[in-house]
């Protein structure tokens, strides 16, 4: 950096030579301030999404930079929400990016006093084992009069109101196929 640049970078110099003699505006602006730009403008892409909290269904835009979500805000195009979000919707960015989010599978063994980490694939195999075992142990082919039951009452499930339709569809389809009928969600609550 030349002396000239350095001097010109000194706000006092700009005060003396520019239109801001009192040093309250243009002269005092730092290079960083001058270069500021909204991170939504520099995002790599924008995903059109929907708020995950209540059922109003406000439109959201999710801004992604370097494969990280950098901002979530209202989608002005939405005829439902017109770009607006409530405090919960406005907190969506921290919902997604919070470091309090669990990112590891955790396992508590019977009578255990604490969590242990578990590999995802192992966990999936273990859960499949348990589903099949519970199903076999509690399977009901038919009632006393020979009417078909085709089911297990040994497995329950609760949840779905926060999930996608496609997910609920697969959940219901799979559980129905294995004969698990005790499938419920918030709509009952």
């Amino acid at each position: 950096m030349g002396v000239k640049t350095w001097i010109e970078g000194w706000p006092v110099y700009r005060q003396l030579t520019g239109a801001d003699p009192l040093g309250r505006g243009a002269a005092a602006q730092s290079p960083k301030s001058k270069a500021l730009t909204a991170r939504t403008e520099t995002a790599d892409r924008v995903a059109k999404s929907v708020c995950p909290y209540c059922a109003v269904g406000c439109g959201q835009r999710i801004f992604v930079k370097d494969e990280k979500v950098v901002q979530i805000e209202g989608d002005p195009d939405s005829p439902i929400s017109r770009g607006r979000l409530c405090p919960k919707g406005s907190a969506s960015l921290s919902l997604v990016t919070s470091d309090r989010r669990q990112q590891k599978v955790l396992y508590r063994r019977p009578y255990g006093k604490d969590w242990e980490e578990l590999d995802l694939d192992t966990a999936m195999e273990m859960i499949a084992d348990r589903v099949l075992a519970a199903r076999d142990a509690t399977w009901q082919d038919s009632d006393d009069d020979g009417r078909p039951l085709n089911r297990t009452l040994g497995i329950s499930s609760l949840g779905g109101a926060t999930l996608d339709n496609e997910e609920n569809y697969l959940i219901k389809k799979l559980f129905t196929a294995i004969g698990a009928i005790q499938i419920e969600n918030q709509a009952r609550i």
Partner: protein
């Protein structure tokens, strides 16, 4: 170049050396449609990565933020008032009329809330009230000052010792119609005495609280003096003992005012605070050295310092966003358009129209705050439509930028300096070894 004026109406960007400045941008916050959802607070924090302000229950109605701090650049104020606006458009007159209610708890709860001291992670942050009693006055005029003026809060005020009481028939609004209603009045002779009511379905002060337990587990009637088991004894003597009837809940999203003449900016010794081309006032975090002068320079008590990083922070009016033609995060999120962003001139026109509408609907209390370019700060870049006196919301009623008098101050200082020099000369005069 601008006039470099320190006071009065002015185009601040021009004055600050932006020869080719875009229109001045600002906020118009219309509190008559604020629903107190606090989306503004969260959206602001999300965009600007502002730290949390602590997890303290303040008891200030639903306000657990407490005020604007370095860690809260938007603050939604909540004010519960046992009164009604003159017009029906902004509240629900007679909300509790005719119910078996006693006097309002607002003065007492305000006193308790005023003593809470949140740890906001900032300094000075939100200090507790030094005079908690003063907090009771948030409730409105019934609880303060001299005896209610005739016709204002009405009722049959019993004069000077314990304030009035009013009661009325089922639908009477507050005490306003009491005199003409079937309700009788006793005169509250002492602070611990209430008043008796006859007729209507409303409940009198003296018997009100205790009697409401009818049918349930009986608890002795408690006089108004010990009301709530709370520090009512602290309260001003003139507490309205009438059964509450009207109610309104004011909400208002407060923010930095981006004054035309900004005290914080004027006194900042580093140029960290500067005027942008949009006429807004921004702290540059790469410059600020945390001298704290701006904190005392602000007539609104907006700017504040973070304890962990030592710098001053406040609303930037999303300088990065508006520079890219976007609206600030809070205005964008606000569900009911209580917060409106735009060119200040246009906002002022819009606000004038809104005020006219409200007043034509009979909302006499509606008033604009900070919109007048000839006020003490040359008008605010972020101004408000309020439904009560500014101080009820924690705003100064008639602020002025301290720098208004800085020339006079320097003159006085110069005079004092001369006096000092002269004194020294005189002291040493005629003495030479």
């Amino acid at each position: 170049m601008g006039s470099n004026s320190l006071y009065g109406p002015l185009d601040p960007a021009l004055d600050a050396g932006y020869t080719d400045a875009p229109p001045r941008m600002g906020f118009f916050t219309d509190t008559s449609v604020c629903i107190g959802c606090k989306a503004c607070e969260v959206a602001c924090k999300t965009w600007n990565a502002v730290p949390d302000d602590g997890f303290d229950l303040l008891g200030q109605s639903y306000d657990n933020t407490g005020g604007l701090t370095a860690n809260s650049w938007r603050h939604v104020a909540f004010i519960e008032q046992p009164r009604s606006s003159s017009g029906a458009a902004t509240d629900t007159p007679g909300a509790f009329a005719g119910l078996p209610v006693g006097p309002s708890s607002v003065p007492a709860t305000n006193v308790v809330a005023a003593r809470s001291a949140p740890d906001t992670g900032t300094s000075p942050g939100i200090p507790p009230a030094v005079d908690a009693l003063a907090a009771a006055a948030t409730a409105g005029t019934e609880f303060i000052g001299a005896a209610p003026s005739p016709g204002a809060t009405g009722g049959c005020g019993s004069g000077d010792t314990s304030g009035g009481c009013a009661c009325g028939g089922g639908s009477s609004r507050g005490g306003a119609s009491a005199a003409g209603s079937s309700g009788g009045c006793g005169s509250g002779a002492g602070a611990s005495e209430g008043c008796a009511c006859a007729g209507g379905s409303s409940h009198g002060g003296a018997s009100g609280v205790g009697a409401s337990g009818a049918g349930a587990i009986g608890v002795g009637a408690s006089g108004s003096g010990e009301f709530l088991g709370m520090p009512m004894t602290d309260l001003p003597g003139r507490v309205n003992e009438a059964p509450r009837s009207d109610f309104r809940w004011l909400m208002m999203s407060n923010v930095c005012k981006h004054c035309t003449h900004a005290g914080c900016l004027d006194v900042c010794p580093t140029g960290a605070l500067f005027r942008t081309e949009f006429g807004t006032v921004v702290v540059q975090d790469d410059i600020c050295n945390g001298c704290g002068y701006c904190i005392s320079g602000c007539p609104y008590g907006v700017i504040d310092r973070r304890e962990d990083d030592g710098r001053a922070w406040k609303c930037t009016l999303c300088y990065d966003r508006i520079g890219d033609g976007l609206e600030p995060a809070c205005a964008k999120a606000c569900p009911t358009e209580s917060i409106q962003f735009g060119e200040l001139d246009e906002l002022r026109e819009r606000a004038a129209r809104r005020l006219e509408t409200l007043q034509s609907q009979g909302v006499a209390e509606a008033r604009l705050y900070g919109n007048d370019p000839s006020d003490g700060v040359g008008g605010d870049g972020a101004f408000f439509l309020l439904l009560d006196e500014p101080e009820v919301y924690g705003l100064p009623p008639d602020p002025h930028v301290p720098t208004r008098d800085v020339v006079a101050m320097w003159k006085r200082a110069g005079l004092a300096a001369l006096t000092m020099a002269a004194t020294a000369v005189v002291a040493f005069a005629g003495r030479r070894k």
